[in-house]
Amino acid sequence: MPRLPNETEPVTLDTFLRGLWQENPVFVMLLGMCPVLAVTNSAINALAMGLASTFVLVMSNSLVSLMRNFIPKQVRIATYIIIIATFVTMVDYTIQAISLELYNALGAFIQLIVVNCMILGRAEAYASKQPLWPTIINGLGIGAGFTFALLCLGVVREILGAGQLFGIDLFGDSFQPWVVMILPPGGFFVLGAWLLIFAWFRERKQRLSKLQEVTQHGG
């Protein structure tokens, strides 16, 4: 839905839900694909990555929103990146302190949250024009949508690739894991399959609404 660039919008439930479904950063907008593919070989990694990205997204966008009247237009992108990098460094050191195992599993991808285009895109398109409250709600929504997408991939890949879910065995010994699913090609295949499902839903919805229009005009 098109909005005028400088119009502040009222906070509704839609501000949150839009990020989860209609504007889902991964399945609809195709943003932030690198971590989506790289860290989703198990559900727990996917969840940790989603939560870390959500934290950075909400915190950095809140700060951008609070400072939106002080940042000169010419250097705004550089300023956003510095703000994001600050929060990423915080997350990086926190995860390192809480769980070294998780830190090693996620590898460089925690630090690479800095260049996640989803976060910079939100800062530029939303936080720099909206007051604090809608920014936080919208950030939470987008973050939840991102975490949801990561889990979609992580769960499928872990069940098929290792026969486990969150580290718990699901099948008996007779299960032969599809090792390819936790290797790099599996990430591409599973994401492709999810995109296919979403595209099919969208096409069906379009067809149904068109059909409805036709019948209405006909009647």
Binding site: L30, M33, A108, V114, P184, G192, L195, A199
Partner: protein, 196 residues
């Protein structure tokens, strides 16, 4: 061939652990600009160039950060340097080689948010490469990125002639193609395994 020899580092970054197909770095431009071979080639050149520049500057910066014991500023200074390196490259190119500048066009500023560039800087630091090794590593990564991009662009151009079901057109089809390419690149894994 030792694991830290220059040739091995190059081969490893370019083919065995291809940045796009095995390590998932730089997926956004990989999906975004792989529709045509010419644009893919130009993008690849721009990435190789910026990677080299930012790798060299990241090496210097890391040495300075370690010297003054302020490593926690690493991420912030790397990203600031990459952003300004891109700007610098853009201005220099505009002045000295307008032809190349026009050819690269919009891709130069976009490179700032290419995670492969930051990835190269972070990996060379965490693997403690020497200066020469860093340069070779960044060159290999850039070449690998270009190879993946060109392969993808070639496939997608061929695909335009095929009849694809309308549901799977676009991103879903590209993902499946990337999966097949990635599967093919796994064949190179044996080249690197013996060195750990």
């Amino acid at each position: 061939m030792a694991a830290d020899s220059l040739f091995f580092i190059f081969l490893n970054a370019a083919i065995v652990n291809n940045f796009v197909l095995a390590m998932f770095l730089g997926i956004c431009p990989f999906l975004g600009v792989s529709a045509k071979k010419e644009t893919a080639w130009n993008m690849g050149l721009a990435v190789i160039f910026v990677m080299l520049v930012s790798s060299i500057s990241a090496y210097g910066i890391n040495a300075m950060l370690v010297r003054f014991d302020i490593e926690y500023l690493r991420l912030i200074s790397y990203i600031a340097v990459i952003a300004s390196a891109v700007q610098l490259v853009e201005m220099t190119m505009k002045k000295f080689s307008p032809t190349l500048f026009r050819a690269l066009g919009i891709f130069l500023p976009l490179i700032t948010t290419n995670c492969a560039i930051l990835g190269v800087a972070l990996f060379q630091t965490s693997r403690e490469y020497s200066f020469l090794q860093s340069v070779v590593f960044s060159l290999g990564a850039g070449v690998g990125f270009t190879i993946a991009l060109m392969l993808m662009a070639g496939l997608r151009q061929q695909l335009e002639l095929a009849r694809v079901p309308s549901v799977s057109q676009g991103a879903a089809m590209t993902m499946m193609l990337a999966g097949l390419l990635s599967l093919a690149f796994m064949g190179f894994a044996g080249l690197g395994a013996q060195h750990g």
